[in-house]
């Protein structure tokens, strides 16, 4: 695909949790909890302060009365700020420090004062009814001539437990929000920029790792298409595919538009009750429904069922809109007969509605009210097909296709957070911020300076255990041994189903030192570490798994083994070394270095031969 030709433009908005000790506006720890551990709950309504224009009509009043009562789970690790029972603490200086560091890494310009804003969110995910957010720096550069437009610091929202129940453990964890300009021209470029930004963030060593700690939103448009924002891409590996599929979708919609115009297609918006058509249907869905409504899309035949993205058709888009009314989906004639609907029923349906061979018919089955609502949405979306691509916020589906979520946000309802004083960022402070070595640079240095091979160097640099590696090296452990031990032990533990947290950095360092001092064999490292991870102290683990085996003991052992095989050795001479070595190693593997065994055995054989 020639992405330049079609005019692809893509931008990123990356949200990354910061690994500070405390939250952004309170002193609670930034730990995620199991919702079963909650120790309390509070229930709250949220209401939108009316604007000056607001009028108290019957509908508004009804809406207020029907407000939902949200329930929030609290924990022994959360406090009053999370449940909006206390003014927020000042902006966490550690979080600001991380954000400024990242801003500096992108060569951005910090704002002289940080003003915290409230961004209204009344879906229940913020107990206060707003999310606190502040712009920190503007206009930075990324390689490939891409730009970071803004960097902001903001607080995480609650995690939804189910329905109207939220968990406040996540609320308030600091996030950095990095917004790029729409500077990417190909799907791979989007991947590379996202990866580069992620790597830059991780280079600070001060961001959270693991699933859910980073979320990428992608903005995509092509010439003749429209800006579409795809929310919450969590896996970097999918990001290019998401862009590719969005391009495909936009191209398909444009093609459909052209075909519709060519066909003089038309949506007249008339809705018919076709319940009687299906009076004796065998379709489970239609049988259950109280009402079945139908509409004719003139000139749409074949287009509703056209695939626009893997697994997605124009019909799917219509269905997304319909689902907002609470119906399960729709049926269209491009896919019928199917799902228990017979050819005869389709025939009667088309006849009844006067649909011609070029027309498509859409039916929806549910309650009267939901069906009417859904039909309006379907007709709205059908009419949009004549425009091509609608501006939308979409959510990613498994595999990288997307579904409609909501229209693009309007002007954010933002107003100042009066509980937080502005935080000045002085020139002295900005100048004092040190930027860390990028992980990519580090990986190269590991090759040149420490002699790691390129793969291991990269793996080590990008590992969560990087700090441990750097500590080990600084404490005098040979870098190759350190890297090999750390990476292997992580792999081994994960294979054994043991959490890497079970093994303290101190233990790993201690084991490596034991080996380097010759008090345990390299071969035993993994066994020792596994024992430590299961709760044994390092010294216990060394003496149990790999009890020290002295040269004298080895000499005795070798002496015995050699005596037993005297004839064989005499027969074979020096060639016996190999086989006998095998016998000895079987006894002492991991308890004494193979080099020593070889020496002792050599001596012993020398004595005999």
């Amino acid at each position: 695909m020639d992405y330049e030709a079609i005019g692809l433009k893509a931008g990123l908005e990356i949200h990354q949790q910061l690994n500070t000790k405390e939250k952004l506006f309170c002193h609670s720890p930034t730990v995620i909890r199991d919702s079963a551990e909650h120790t309390g709950e509070v229930s709250r309504y949220l209401r939108i302060a009316t604007s000056e224009m607001g009028d108290v009509d019957r509908a508004a009043k009804e809406e207020l009365m029907n407000q939902r009562l949200f329930t929030y789970y609290t924990y022994d690790s959360t406090g009053l700020v999370e449940i909006d029972e206390e003014p927020p603490a000042p902006l966490n200086p550690d979080a600001l420090d991380v954000v400024l560091t990242i801003a500096k890494m992108f060569n951005m310009t910090p704002l002289p004062e940080i003003h915290t804003m409230r961004k209204m969110i009344v879906d229940g995910s913020a107990t206060s009814g707003f999310q606190r957010t502040a712009l920190v720096a503007l206009n930075g550069a990324i390689e490939h001539a891409c730009r970071v437009e803004t960097v902001a610091v903001e607080e995480e929202a609650c995690q939804r437990v189910e329905d109207t129940i939220f968990s406040v453990d996540r609320l308030g964890i600091p996030l950095i929000e990095i917004t790029t300009s729409p500077c990417m021209k190909t799907p791979d470029e989007v991947h590379d920029i996202a990866q580069y930004i992620g790597m830059t963030l991780r280079s600070t060593g001060r961001v959270k790792r693991g699933i859910g700690t980073i979320r990428q939103d992608v903005n995509v448009s092509i010439r003749d298409g429209a800006r579409v924002e795809i929310k919450g891409v969590q896996e970097l590996d999918l990001i290019a595919e998401v862009v590719r599929r969005e391009v495909q979708r936009q191209l398909s919609l444009i093609a459909i538009r052209d075909e519709l115009l060519a066909r003089n297609a038309m949506v007249n918006g008339e809705v018919y009750d076709v319940t009687t058509v299906f009076a004796k249907t065998q379709s489970q869905v239609l049988k259950k429904a109280r009402v079945i409504l139908g509409t004719v899309l003139h000139g749409f035949n074949g287009l509703v069922g056209l695939e626009i993205q893997p697994g997605r058709r124009l019909g799917s888009e219509m269905s997304d809109y319909a689902k907002k009314c609470g119906v399960g989906g729709l049926f269209h004639t491009d896919e019928l007969p199917a799902y228990g609907v017979t050819e005869e029923e389709v025939f009667v349906l088309k006849e009844t509605l006067g649909a011609g061979p070029n027309d498509a018919v859409i039916i929806v089955a549910s309650t009267e009210q939901k069906c009417r609502c859904a039909m309006q949405m379907i007709i709205r979306r059908a009419k949009m097909a004549f425009e091509g691509v609608p501006e939308e916020t979409r959510k990613m589906l498994e595999g990288g296709s997307t579904a409609y979520m909501r229209p693009l946000p309007g002007a954010a309802r933002m107003y100042p957070e009066t509980d937080i004083l502005p935080v000045p960022v002085t020139k002295e402070y900005w100048d004092s911020i040190a930027t860390p070595e990028l992980l990519s640079v580090k990986a190269e240095r590991f090759v040149t300076e420490y002699g790691l091979d390129a793969g291991m160097a990269r793996q080590m640099a990008f590992s969560e255990k990087l700090p441990l590696f750097e500590r080990a090296v600084s404490e005098g452990i040979r870098p190759v041994f350190a890297a090999r031990t750390i990476l292997a032990s992580l792999k081994e533990l994960s294979r054994a189903g043991i959490s890497p947290d079970a093994l303290s950095d101190d233990s790993i360092i201690s084991v490596m030192k034991t080996v380097e001092a010759g008090n345990a064999a390299k071969e035993a490292v993994l066994d020792i570490l596994t024992a430590c991870a299961k709760g044994m102290s390092v010294s216990d683990a060394v003496s149990r798994v790999a009890p020290a085996f002295s040269r004298e003991e080895l000499q005795d052992l070798v002496h015995g083994i050699v005596n037993d095989r005297m004839e064989f050795i005499r027969t074979r001479g020096k060639a016996a070394l190999g086989p006998v070595m095998g016998v000895v190693m079987k006894e002492v593997r991991g308890r004494i270095d193979g080099k020593v065994v070889s020496e002792v055995l050599d001596e012993e054989l020398g004595r005999i031969l």
Partner: protein
């Protein structure tokens, strides 16, 4: 050209140009609201004015009608905000106070009563003083005379308990007088203001006939409590359920959103008292908490005061070396009342030696009165009685639920 609030500006910063509107200045910096909604702070010299776009004409606001069949309540504001609106273009929050504003903000109120609103003065709660309590009591008195069937007083929470107690002592009332406030500001979607206001209106049309404080009963939006004005304390700086009845249960509760009012067996009912204003206060009174190692000179500093309430330790004690200073005050004509910094429970100066010495020094036992309430009551008593024995008798008589019972004066 000087920039004014709401002026469109173009900002040149960090090598890029951005559009926004000017909000205000802070030193040499300008605060500008960007079109994204964010406020940024840049040197004012980086901003240049842009041409104003034609302002959109505001649609006409429909007038609101109150339901004439509902009872009439007076809402008296002393500075607390019961309703706010946010201007989402500039982010400015403004507090609202006409009946119409309130009904627009909290439409549920329209179904409960008709409202007449007044604002005799507007101060921060910590700046309330005895003269304002008198003004407030007179205003309430007038409103009841004019036919209000219940009174809602919106008040900052900081000193609400002092004001509510003062109104209790100054006013006999046949209708409920409900003090209400909010712990979380009215400009946030999670504010307790609307629910508290709705519950206070339910309380004000109920069968109650005394002065109460209406605030959240728990941290959840499910129930408000009605606290007797003379037995309530703000016991948390920020929680919604900060107000608690001390030494007794609340006199009532209101389920939200149902609006059901449940009153305690000993709640004073509507019509029990006749309307009477007795608004003399002697404001030259003080309150002092004793602490170990207190310099007696601190007590001497109250020389010249007409009354002093001491929050002593435990059953009502102070260090022995402070007793002479107290005796000095009583001899000079200051009425000294002993309460306890424990807050709950009775003062009893008969049991221990120090207490007996305090009684000898002329100190009046304050029973179970909260120190803050004892201070307010002392101002009222000294404003209405002059003879020593009358002052003591009144201080030890349960006037408005501040004591559980009249203290016995033994034969």
């Amino acid at each position: 050209m000087t920039l004014n609030n709401s002026d469109p500006v173009s900002v040149m910063f960090a090598g890029i140009e951005m559009d926004g509107i000017f909000i205000n200045r802070s030193g040499e910096h300008a605060i500008v609201k960007l079109s994204s909604g964010y406020n940024i702070c840049v040197p004012e010299s980086f901003c240049s004015p842009k041409e104003k776009t034609a302002s959109v004409e505001k649609p006409a606001v429909l007038p609101l009608k109150q339901d004439a069949s509902l009872p009439l309540l007076s809402i008296i504001s002393t500075g607390g905000t019961i309703a706010s609106t946010v201007d989402y273009r500039t982010g400015a929050v403004s507090s609202k106070f006409t009946a119409e504003d309130i009904l627009r903000s909290i439409p549920e109120l329209a179904g409960i009563a008709r409202y007449h609103t007044l604002q005799p003065f507007q101060v921060l709660s910590e700046n309330m003083n005895p003269a304002m309590w008198q003004e407030l009591a007179r205003t309430i008195h007038d409103e009841i005379l004019k036919g209000a069937q219940g009174i809602i007083v919106t008040h900052g929470t900081d000193t609400m308990l002092y004001s509510a107690a003062a109104v209790s002592f100054m006013l006999s009332t046949p209708v409920p007088i409900v003090f209400v406030g909010a712990q979380r500001s009215a400009d946030r979607p999670s504010s307790d203001n609307a629910m508290n206001a709705i519950c206070s209106a339910q309380a004000a049309v109920s069968d109650l006939g005394e002065v109460v404080v209406c605030m959240h009963a728990t941290e959840s939006d499910t129930m408000c409590a009605l606290h007797r004005a003379t037995r309530v304390r703000k016991n948390h700086t920020s929680r919604r359920d900060a107000f608690q009845s001390i030494g007794r249960e609340p006199v009532g509760g209101i389920e939200y959103p149902e609006g059901t009012v449940v009153l305690a067996k000993d709640a004073v009912l509507r019509g029990t008292e006749e309307l009477r204003l007795s608004d003399n206060l002697e404001s030259n009174c003080g309150l002092l908490q004793y602490y170990p190692g207190m310099n007696p000179a601190v007590i001497d500093a109250f020389k010249g005061c007409k009354g002093l309430v001491i929050a002593g330790t435990g059953l009502g004690h102070v260090g022995t070396d402070c007793i002479a200073s107290i005796k000095g005050l009583t001899t000079a004509g200051t009425t000294v009342v002993m309460t306890s910094q424990c807050q709950a429970g009775n003062v009893c100066d008969r049991v221990y030696e120090t207490g007996r010495d305090l009684l000898d020094a002329g100190v009046i036992e304050g029973g179970s009165m909260l120190p803050e309430v004892a201070l307010v009551k002392l101002m009222w008593v000294l404003g209405n009685a002059t003879r020593k024995e009358d002052i003591k008798r009144l201080m030890q008589t349960n006037l408005k639920g501040e004591l559980e019972y009249d203290l016995w004066r033994c034969a």
